[in-house]
């Protein structure tokens, strides 16, 4: 039996590398194996090169690389199976959760937000990455399909995370959704289009996909445009909100001055019945105003994710970017919520009774809590003020109600 020289071994070792074996573990095996075969085959008649070439034939048509590929396939197969089924299951569960969450939200049932959140979360952290990994492995042959799966994944990830951020009222949501959409339209679609026309099989299917993607992205962006009110309109709306708030504070101060004046008068000319009525009016007004003030702070703290103390001090202008998701549950169904539309309505009604008792001829129309005609349809007071509205509008409506309370208080003071 012959023994290979160091140069020959080094030559084989290098040749294995050249033939595409990258795994050091496998190349150790192959080097030893090839050396063994050659050492057994070498005789006095044939030279090293001939025997080496013959030995390589042992490894089949596709050569050494095939062994490495087969090894990788075997090693990843187990993971592949688990990943594939996890992807499918998480996909089913998350889409089911998002769908039922939307249905719950539509019906004002509690738990809608939790369902949607968990659904979107599953979709972004489990389904999409797994889909990407599996697609990426499948498409590893051509550059085009690698680019396709990368852009597709990044775009889908951005859009999903963006929607998740939007639901959570975290900053940057809009940016992510828009850049995801842009990437989908300018990155993914062109590459996809090219691959369809290079690959003639199943053109109809792929064309349909392209059309669906374009339609989906357009719908998504129209939604964003609609919710983005034109600047001038939105600016005057916000001027209205801040000015109403100023007017409210001004009226409260004016009423306080009137109380002081009346108190001075009463100290000289004491009429116990009159002073009792005024005290009653003040305490009833204060109670109702405290409730509305706390309600505003509570709602803002919920939508903006800040504490109620911070919410009390927030500038109304800062609500420009706020969404207001989740409020219907708080204001309507949820029994654990300390503030509700119904409760506010009851408080206003009992305030009206107090005022009527003290000053019977006061005009109470400013505090009407009856049904309201909207677009030819009768809508309840709660719905017209709070239902399906963004937080900014709800706060604006509460300020309007507060102005009504202060105006009624002022009118009652005149009557006493």
């Amino acid at each position: 039996m012959f023994s290979l020289t160091e140069e020959q071994i080094a030559f084989i070792e290098n040749d294995i590398k050249v033939r595409g074996i990258t795994s050091p573990d496998l190349s150790i095996d192959l080097l030893d194996h090839i050396c063994c075969v050659i050492e057994n085959e070498l005789d006095g008649y044939r030279n090293f090169d001939t025997v080496y070439q013959e030995t390589l034939l042992l490894f089949g048509e596709k050569g050494l690389k095939e062994i490495q590929d087969e090894t990788n396939r075997l090693l990843t197969f187990k993971h592949y199976y688990i990943m594939n089924s996890t992807m499918k299951i998480s996909g089913y569960i998350s889409s089911l959760m998002i769908l039922s969450g939307a249905f719950f939200k539509f019906n004002h049932w509690p738990g809608a937000n939790v369902l949607m959140l968990v659904g979107v979360f599953l979709l972004t952290v489990l389904f999409l990455p797994l889909l990407f990994i599996l697609k990426f492995k499948e498409s590893a042959e051509s550059n085009r399909s690698v680019a396709l799966s990368i852009t597709g994944f990044v775009a889908a990830f951005l859009i999903c995370i963006g929607i998740f951020f939007k639901i959570m009222h975290w900053p940057g949501a809009q940016f992510m959704i828009i850049s995801g959409g842009v990437l989908l339209l300018l990155g993914y679609l062109p590459i996809y289009f090219i691959s369809i026309y290079k690959n003639t099989t199943n053109k109809l299917n792929s064309t349909a996909t392209v059309i669906l993607i374009i339609a989906g992205v357009s719908l998504l962006s129209t939604e964003t445009w609609i919710s983005g009110i034109p600047r001038t309109t939105s600016d005057s709306f916000w001027r209205g909100v801040t000015e109403s708030n100023d007017l409210l504070n001004f009226s409260i101060q004016e009423n306080d001055k009137r109380y002081e004046k009346v108190a001075k008068q009463l100290s000289t000319d004491s009429s116990s019945r009159k002073s009792e009525s005024i005290l009653q009016l003040k305490s009833a007004t204060d109670e109702l105003m405290t409730y509305t003030k706390k309600m505003k702070a509570f709602l803002i703290s919920k939508t903006e994710g800040i504490s109620e103390a911070e919410a009390e001090k927030i500038k109304l202008d800062a609500l420009r970017t706020a969404g207001g998701g989740g409020l219907p549950d708080i204001l309507f169904g949820e029994p654990s919520s300390p503030y509700s539309a119904k409760q506010l309505q009851n408080k206003i009604e009992s305030y009206k009774q107090v005022v009527e008792k003290i000053a019977p001829s006061t005009d109470l129309n400013r505090l009407n809590t009856g049904n309201f005609m909207m677009y030819g349809k009768e809508v309840s007071w709660e719905q017209s003020n709070f239902d399906q509205l963004p937080i900014a509008l709800i706060i604006f409506n509460i300020i309007r109600i507060e102005l009504g309370i202060i105006a009624t208080e002022s009118a009652a003071l005149n009557q006493i």
Partner: protein, 126 residues
């Protein structure tokens, strides 16, 4: 050796479909009888024991050995042989049990085939 160019999982006498599922059993059995073996040794041993009726190809052997290693059925140790390294494969504890199961399963299969095909049974359980 033109035949090697055609079929990867190859035996000389039997069809590849017949042999494919038994490769693991053969290797496990060999390893359970020897303390440690290296790849080339395994191929030669099979050839020798079967009188060249069954030949394990490199293309089938090494991927399978690496898979067995990843599953914890075999462990490896390396020994320097001059300029090159030789990797020895040894069955682990679980590997030994797996080998017994596989061999039993296969012997049982052959018995069943005997009954099914009405051959004269000549098989002993291990």
């Amino acid at each position: 050796m033109p035949i090697h160019n055609i079929i990867m999982y190859l035996c000389v006498m039997y069809s590849s479909a017949l042999i494919k599922g038994t490769l693991k059993t053969i290797v496990l059995k060999l390893l359970s009888e020897t303390e440690k073996m290296y790849g080339y040794e395994i191929t030669q041993k099979v050839k020798e024991l079967t009188g060249s009726k069954i030949v394990i190809t490199e293309g089938a052997l090494y991927p399978m050995l690496h898979q067995l290693e990843a599953e914890g059925i075999v462990t490896t140790e390396t020994v320097n042989i001059g300029k090159r390294i030789r990797k020895y494969y040894t069955l682990t504890q679980t590997g030994n049990e797996r080998a017994k199961e596989k061999i039993y399963e296969f012997a049982d299969f052959i018995n069943t085939m005997n009954i099914l095909l009405d051959l004269k049974p000549n098989i002993k359980y291990v």
